[in-house]
């Protein structure tokens, strides 16, 4: 479980910031490479490979910690990670360079794709190909859901929260923020801090 490292003591100089020497340009280039090569989603694997394995800018433990922040906050994993790592390395400027670089290649590509689609999207062949793409995308996202579930769920009650969320959005047609806040609060209270030092602790 990835939270076991949290009770690490607040060492004045925890291993991270000192030895790393990354210029803004280095940060820009590395995130540009990640932003340009991470075809097909799964950007987290590319981030880990680039930042932990290749550049050794963050340790595996820090990476997991940052990832858990990224997943808790709104925002995409790729951009939240860019901000967190960039800020860790070089402050606000580093964060800005990282997010800009990670978005740039995909942004240019989708800009062009949008233009092409506008021009040719209504052709029967293109339309048929895109039907295939859309069907596969649904399969891909379902697979992501299954894989995420295997990794980050803590128990059977989580399945209940998942089902309530889906029913709220898809069946009752409640708006996403309402469901997010309502079920989020419910689940957070379910996982409320239990074992208080000196108090009784259940399980």
């Amino acid at each position: 479980m990835n939270s076991s490292g949290l009770n690490l003591k607040f060492a004045p100089d925890s291993p991270s910031p000192a030895p790393v020497n990354a210029s803004i340009l280095d940060i820009f280039i590395e995130f540009l490479i990640i932003g340009a090569t991470s075809f097909g989603g799964g950007v987290v694997a590319y981030l880990r490979n680039g930042l932990v394995v290749k550049r050794q800018w963050v340790t595996d433990k820090e990476f997991v910690e940052m990832l858990s922040i990224s997943q808790t906050l709104p925002g995409l994993n790729a951009t939240n990670m860019a901000i967190l790592v960039g800020d860790r390395l070089r402050g606000v400027l580093g964060a800005f360079a990282a997010i800009f670089a990670v978005c740039l290649p995909g942004g240019i590509l989708m800009y062009i794709a949008g233009l092409l689609y506008q021009e040719h999207g209504s052709r029967p062949v293109a339309n048929a190909a895109l039907q295939g793409v859309a069907a596969a995308a649904v399969g891909l996202i379902l697979a992501t859901g299954v894989q995420l579930g295997r990794k980050s769920l803590s128990g059977n009650t989580d399945l209940v929260f998942i089902v309530i969320t889906i029913i709220g959005v898809n069946r009752l047609h409640l708006s996403v923020p309402r469901v997010l806040i309502a079920v989020g609060i419910m689940a957070t209270i379910w996982y409320r801090p239990r074992s208080r030092p000196g108090g009784y602790s259940s399980q």
């Binding site: 895109l130 793409v133 996202i141």
Partner: protein, 175 residues
Amino acid sequence: MNQLPALVRVFAYLSLLTVGGGMAAFPELKVLTVEVHHWLTFKQLIHLYSVGQMAPGPNMMMIVSIGEWVAGPMGALVVVLAFFGPTAALALLVGRLWKRLEHWPWRDSIRKGLAPVSIGLLLAGCFTLARGAIFGLETAAVMVATLLILLQYEINPALLILAAAIIGAFSFTPR
């Protein structure tokens, strides 16, 4: 008519819903861009979103296409800033506070509580997408095949999506 303020409002709002990933915002993305503002049709949204899954980088860069359609290059730029600005600022702030919240017992409760919600939102978004993308046996077969292959093998999803495009072009084209 100047659509830029509407673009900013819509995409800044959507960005705050992307807990656990872009898919969480998809149902609202559909309502706002298709039903409220009529910037594109549901089918076009599905096509762009699906193509966007293949693109490298953050998997919501398809918003650039919407911005460009609505208001040209300026629209594309505005959409990106509106969509990534708020969450970037939040990540910066919370990233710096996170260490200090280490001993705040609710930090872990929130993290654990949001995990199932974000998966629920992912699936809810996925079902909204499926409603427009899965019709008939062929599309269902492509979906199931993609799901099973991805769960079974380590393969780049972009290749599968590309294969699905080719299958689609050959077999879904009306004759």
